[in-house]
Subunit: 99 residues, 2 copies
């Protein structure tokens, strides 16, 4: 399992509309091949700053299958207009399971 | 529920020893008041770069209760020697539940 973390900064004053757009985009992730879960999280320490957290079966499920799909285009059409800068995206995998 | 994300960069070549130290520190989080889960994740795109992901009942469970505890001192004694720079720590909360 791979976690996508997308660091998103949005235009000031657009929190409510942005969150509504992301909620509307949930089905595009739900129908994506290899997508296990998706949540939008707000950073407490900095305004206008979010983390999109998506769990994928594999790295390629995100970077190849999803990014080449209509669902990705639809997601970006909904959320993209609120971005103040290009998203910074990286991926992680668990190395110490903890609890 | 609050997610702590600690951005950790470690000294080159110390991955195995660092991961072992974090595994050894798991009980200090398990016994922390208000701590729901803890995992160490490795960033795929950059060497020596990790994310410690911890879920807390409240922000204060981390920033007040844990940071004032012996468990925090014990965690830092185990993991701190591997840090190449001070950790960058922030917190998030879910605003769109997704799935």
């Amino acid at each position: 399992m791979i976690r996508e973390i997308a660091e998103l900064t949005i235009k000031p004053g657009s929190d409510a509309a942005f969150q509504a757009a992301v909620a509307q985009a949930v089905p595009h992730f739900q129908s994506a091949k290899g997508c296990q879960s998706m949540k939008l999280e707000k950073v407490l320490e900095r305004p206008d700053t979010y983390r999109l957290m998506v769990l994928w079966d594999t790295l390629e499920a995100h970077t190849v299958d999803f990014r080449d799909s209509q669902g990705f285009a639809d997601w970006r059409a909904l959320a993209g207009p609120f971005f103040a800068a290009p998203p910074n995206v990286y991926h992680t995998e668990v190395v110490v399971e903890g609890f």
